[in-house]
Amino acid sequence: MFKSLAPPEYLATIDREKCIRCKRCIQNCGWGVYSWGGDKILINTSKCVKCLRCYHYCPEEAIEIKDNPTKFKNNAYWSFHHIRNIKRQAETGGIPLTGMGSDQNYPILFDNLMIDACQVTNPSIDPLREPMELRTYLGKKPSSVKIEKGKDGKLKLQTKMPPQIKLDLPIIFSPMSFGSISLNAQKVLAMAAKECGTVMNTGEGGLHEDLFPYKSNIMVQVASGRFGVNPDYLNAGVAVEIKIGQGAKPGIGGHLPGEKIPLEVAKTRMIPVGTDAISPAPQHDIYSIEDLRQLIYAIKEATNYKPVSVKIAAVHNVAAIASGIVRAGADIVYLDGFRGGTGAAPSIIRDHLGIPIEHAIAAVDDRLRQEGIRNEASIVAAGGIRSSADAAKAIALGADACAIATSALITMGCTTCGKCYTGNCSWGITTQRPELTARLDPEVYAERLINLLHAWTHELKEILGALGINSIDSLRGNRERLRGIGLDTQTLDILGVKPAGR
């Protein structure tokens, strides 16, 4: 067979002195890097994706995964990545796929924004001693409420409030379908959502019956493939999301290959076993904003007016699009920045289309305020939230809450290797192979995800305390408490943030 001219990215190596030939690496690797050669482990390093499963499970620390030191000649313009992709395309004629969010070296605005803190003139607040409120309600808010005092002197609400999703912290889980991730991974999300008072999102894959006990912490999604959608499904969760686009692949549909569609996935999606599940690029009943409005209201009618979220990729005109979505009746606008993750996307799309979430939040929040409709919908920001600080900055820029997926998967073992589209995830996350998914014990990993949310909760409270405020309400859209470092005037203007030192 013709040996690929695309050199391997990683070199998997075993220290033969340390190796006790226990074969755990063979068993753990989902990509088939290792095999048994009769007296020693054989390595096919071109298959290695550096997910590090073998490294973690080798009892002797005998394994090392190195970046391949043999690179093409250094060239500032023709990077390793460019040359390698061309060679791969020359061999296959196909579109190289990838998983996860873009790993390319674009500016990261979050890393150029600093949060304020109190000194002398206003006291900081100790979150261990004083209440710190992170509670967040997603949904349409009336611009004013009418409250009357009853004869007994008690307050009584006269305004009918639109439905709200109550969150104990301003962080939810981004949609990931059963099919793109394993049922066990979905269970981890559902269990953590329930424990922490937030919501997970089914993604476009229907709702497996094992998740029924978690209904009050689930948002169901309707996307262009309409998989698994029926009236029971729409009514199953606390809200319904219409997916228009995804940050990692704006304007692109989805394709779950038949190999990732065993019986359970097929049942949940309501499609035959082993057929490719194709989600078209557009929703074929939404070719305009009026069509979106009809779908939003059709869903509201079908669900007795549950909140409807509309998820879009952050693209150049995101502000105008979001305004249209709010006017079309959405209760939540979900913005997904270009760094957002994916189970599978053409890398050319992932790495070159869309805009960063930071710009998108600022532009949308500004536009909705200019039009006087900011209260009409909540903004959920997603697409590369790596820490509680990113979340705090996103909220200060104007988001009501953030959605995380990659961060949640990392608690399950993911190392962001980016090979989710292969269906071989050795951590049992983005795979349907039973021997791999069995590794992901939902109870054990839910505990880790809960730990992460608890840690972020504490961190967010510390940030609020340092800011001298005791409610997340006072951080939301409070750009005055952010400063930019090394950002140009125009970017600062778009973000509505002053430079550090001012």
């Binding site: 409120e133 808010k141 009336p142 004013s144 307050l155 900011r374 409610s471 939301r476 859209g477 943030v497």
Partner: protein, 358 residues
Amino acid sequence: MNHNYQKDISGCGLTGLISKKKNRLSGSHIVKSLCLMNDRGNGLGAGYAAYGIYPEFKDFYAFHIMYDEPSVRWTVEEYLKSNYHLEKIEEIPTFPVKAISISPLLVRYFMKPLKDKLVGDIQEADFVVNTVMKVNSEIEGAYIFSSGKNMGAFKGVGNPCDIAEFFRIEDYEGYIWTAHTRFPTNTPGWWGGAHPFTLLDWSIVHNGEISSYGINKRYLEMYGYKLTLLTDTEVAAYLLDLLIRRHGLDIPTACLALAAPFWKNIDNKDEDEREALTALRQAYGSALLNGPFSILFGHSKGLVGINDRIKLRPLVAAIKDDITYMASEESAIRAICPTPEKVWAPRAGEAVIVNLED
């Protein structure tokens, strides 16, 4: 939207009193009370607001305008004349004080919007607010610092006694008084920056820093308020205007929005109250005033004192006969009321609301 302002950070002292029976008291009381707290300020700003001082013009909006540049006076007056009937124009009486060597030109106007200007469904009050917003944000060098009926604000750069003497505060008689001395840590040295801040009949004196300023400001901008000042106190005045005058909340409810009870307390209420308070917080999350503050706000029907949700700034209240006193320090009250019937420190977030008797 302008995010490029420089926030004025200051510490301060405040005091206020109200005679429920509308007995008009000379300004000398409030001056004495404020001057006791001289060390809470640093001579860079003081001011007074009084209600009931213009009984002979009580149906007219009393505009107090400061002109940094006398020439803009004519521009402003042209504009006012084309929109209002001007009953009386006069310079605000002042008295030369050694410590105050320079002051802006200070003029007051008693006026009413021209009937034919109130077209469509624009309310008279909205019309006046628009005038204030327009002059203050668009006419450089002119600043309307008082715009209510039968009330007025007097303020400037100086210490409390000098400002009182300068404006002859003792000569006014009012049934509600508030006063304020400042300790700005960065001083633009601008007369308009002193407290009280007013809009229509609302007047605010504020001790503290509103850490939620950024979002309060953006929230108000969505409703057409133009935040022109270099201080965060302005947001409190405009929020009250929005919640009470425009959204129709009563004063106690508006206070519950601005210094909202904690969720844990709301969750423990019975169903109706829980529902009402939850909705109030959901709708007015961006109006929540967060950070250390005590505020006194006067209005045509009463006086309200309120603290932040965890009481990071002092506020003491006292009662004697029909008069309620509120101040940063008990001593400022005792200076003018040595034997109050009752003295108490209002709890965090709990408003002291005193209304005039009809």
